[in-house]
Point group: C2
Amino acid sequence: MGEVKSDIEIARTAIKKPIYEIGARLGIPPEDLVPYGHDKAKVSAGFIARQREKKNGRLILVTAINPTPAGEGKTTTTVGLGDGLNRIGKKAVVCIREASLGPCFGVKGGAAGGGYSQVVPMEDINLHFTGDFHAITSAHNLLAALIDNHIYWGNAEGIDVRRIAWRRVMDMNDRALRHIVGSLGGVANGFPRETGFDITVASEVMAILCLSRDLKDLEARLGNIIVGYRRDRTPVFARDLKADGAMAVLLKDALQPNLVQTLENNPAFVHGGPFANIAHGCNSVMATTTALKLADYVVTEAGFGADLGAEKFFDIKCRKAGLKPDVAVVVATVRAMKMNGGVKKEDLGSENVEAVRKGCANLGRHVLNVKKFGVPAIVAINHFATDTQAEIQAVKDYVATLGAEAVLCRHWAQGSGGIEDLAHKVVELAEGGHAQFSPLYPDDMPLFQKIETIATEIYHAGEVIADKQVRDQLHAWEAQGYGNLPVCIAKTQYSFSTDPNLRGAPTGHTVPVREVRLSAGAGFVVVITGEIMTMPGLPSVPSSERIFLNDDGFIEGLF
Amino acid sequence: MGEVKSDIEIARTAIKKPIYEIGARLGIPPEDLVPYGHDKAKVSAGFIARQREKKNGRLILVTAINPTPAGEGKTTTTVGLGDGLNRIGKKAVVCIREASLGPCFGVKGGAAGGGYSQVVPMEDINLHFTGDFHAITSAHNLLAALIDNHIYWGNAEGIDVRRIAWRRVMDMNDRALRHIVGSLGGVANGFPRETGFDITVASEVMAILCLSRDLKDLEARLGNIIVGYRRDRTPVFARDLKADGAMAVLLKDALQPNLVQTLENNPAFVHGGPFANIAHGCNSVMATTTALKLADYVVTEAGFGADLGAEKFFDIKCRKAGLKPDVAVVVATVRAMKMNGGVKKEDLGSENVEAVRKGCANLGRHVLNVKKFGVPAIVAINHFATDTQAEIQAVKDYVATLGAEAVLCRHWAQGSGGIEDLAHKVVELAEGGHAQFSPLYPDDMPLFQKIETIATEIYHAGEVIADKQVRDQLHAWEAQGYGNLPVCIAKTQYSFSTDPNLRGAPTGHTVPVREVRLSAGAGFVVVITGEIMTMPGLPSVPSSERIFLNDDGFIEGLF
């Protein structure tokens, strides 16, 4: 195989163009770019507002099979496809999500793609970047502080301290903060109560930022956040605490999309929240809609697997923002097929066509699921050096039986030159006008039935179970006028089911709903299933132990 | 008085120069400026390293009397004096501290000066700015997460969970987080224990960032942080948890000083931590030493009153960084003298020469205290429209009796044109070579005696009291080799004593030491006295209620 460079080594040797040049390619004048260093910029809200009347380009979604430890390369393929479309003469922009800081120090690698399909500067993108997530953390926690402060100073709104719905957030994997008792230590510190922290990406403020059309919309949504309930069960809103104005001020800059570039100097927006397992997990509406005005093709991603990422992209983001995706690319790897087919990680290097065939069931279901939204699907096989011709053919043959096509892509090793085939096929599909997008369920379906619809149609579960408390809560929200909201299911990314060890394409399983949370500002109901945590922990050997600055001042250990 | 513009209105109409022009004035080439927007930039570590051999300019400290609700204008005078020195032909740079986000939403106004002596962009400076404090929060909390994670996965280092010394931080005024029990909720969340949050500026990481000479020094200091103790009382360091590398990576950009400009387009570094009541409260050593290489005069600030700010500036920052201040300016106002003399806030508008005279005792002690460090002092009377000639003369006469001079300054209303007198006098004093700086106490004095020395010499207290536990802890640290460190006293800013209501120049009072914390990485021992809190709270009507974006997208309510 020769010597393979690490992602960070490749990224470090990238010849970046000044961000003003990248902006100019999209027609963004320098005064509408707010630079963060020489290679990152925010696009001004004023410029974005001036694009409203322009025609939209085509929207391509990149999604994937359920992730395995073998790695799939969803972001890598998103970036690669963007470069590939540019290579074949289309004006294309990539729209991906920002990286969460917390998991960088746990097990997860970077979120900027890999190999020769990356966005740069990858170190910045994986660390503080332009500070958006810090702004979200601040805005979220300001509201939390205002709630306890309101109660401390007399509780004029009559908040029931047992029914406070607003937790705190931190962009860190810190299991010790999941469940705390705060306000201890005496009179000066307030009224002790149970609460806890989620990771920042799970914040409703993150979802609001990602779904807002502009600053006015953002502020209105912030005001609509329900922070808790009074004894008579009426909701207390963030606007009741006069928190929305200051929160919007904290988020003013963060709302503007971030422009960077790929290794091939093509424009890329990196804006908004990852974590489709515990959040809605899509990049921002602002970035996507802006990109659609500036390019012929916009390639965006939704992960982890299509069961979470694509479903939420379609049912939440596209529904709310009026987006009409043209094509969905489902990323798969031969290695992941093998793992789904029962092969252990250490044996992935050996050919095993039978295991590939067996493992294809997972891929197959995702492809068929995507089609249920009226969007044509194509499979990208993200090539690994160990893949054999027979294994690749097995995937292609399988996908053909679904009435779709699987295209081998070598962008990781070759950049855009390795993904021209896929780029051409995507254009063909998109320009064929096959897409007839519609969400999976109508707005007016009852909330519990929405959960059941996703569970049966997408997860192929047999049933959804939930306590009376959960069902009563959903009914109460329906009575309060929130029944028309979509649901945002928090579930393990590793399986169609709520059991992370259940690979392949299980059927008839049970989806246990543990908790429901109303995000009235974002405009969805969060449904927490199985054992999924909204605050991750760190592993026994966190990757932070290997992250350091080398003698040249370069970062080692981020990958 | 006519119509008086608010600080934010003045700041908004400022005609800013591109930050590259400001940098060019200091000889900083564009490639060594990392822009954050068009009006803020970080100065590259490489450029800073290349200035080492240059000669230093002169260092002027601006400090103040104990703050009163009347307002003193320490930052305003620092900025004004910098502009004034430039006006009279000196190459001068201002070095002030960054604003903490938390208090912006409480009662405190901005930290960017006022009137016609401000640094801009004031909104950015008062909000996220270049993200330094967010980086500090992240680095601090990463270490906290790693501690609990280490214990969760078997506690190989044998940390005594009852003796963990590392709390968490948030840049928010949130009293509910002062004292918490974390890791509740069962096996997956770890071992329940008492802990809490401080405000970010009180973090040892903040102090480390402010005291580090370069990235290597920063990383070494981070490794030296003591996170807790084993059952045998030996310390567990951050480097034992392999946390220092990742923390340094998170702080890499934050360590580089931020360059902005004054309203008169003079260069200003805004870098490092405020809050001399609960922290050491000085801007960064990196900013000050860099500015000294680039300018004839560097004007920096230390607050609140000189009892906290100047003492720590001299005994911690100058001692550690080998700085030699040339002059100290003590800022006072007639209004504050009157308040110290017993006048109520609502009566400050009426002439009361007797009250001014009586209130001068507070000013007098600060002036004499500063002289104890061998630094010549001069008083700046920050003019208010209501001041009468007789009142101003009373202050001047009083200061003359101390062998110093008081100079009336009208920079708030007039900018540099109103502070030329002071600028000339400061130059005269500095170039007269009167300064013979030395810290108040030697390194080898025992820790408790250092506290007593500050309490008696600076606060004029009668005694320091502390539990046996506190004294034993200090002895234990001395036995471990930390006896040579300076002490950083956390005390109310409103009085020389630990009682915030005791104005003027009290003597013979008692300083109760509540708690001591070792900051082995920063290199000092924090001594918490009286009722001072390391996590502030919000008032009954937080200023956040008045902060919002107006219809033009401008921020209202930050002042």
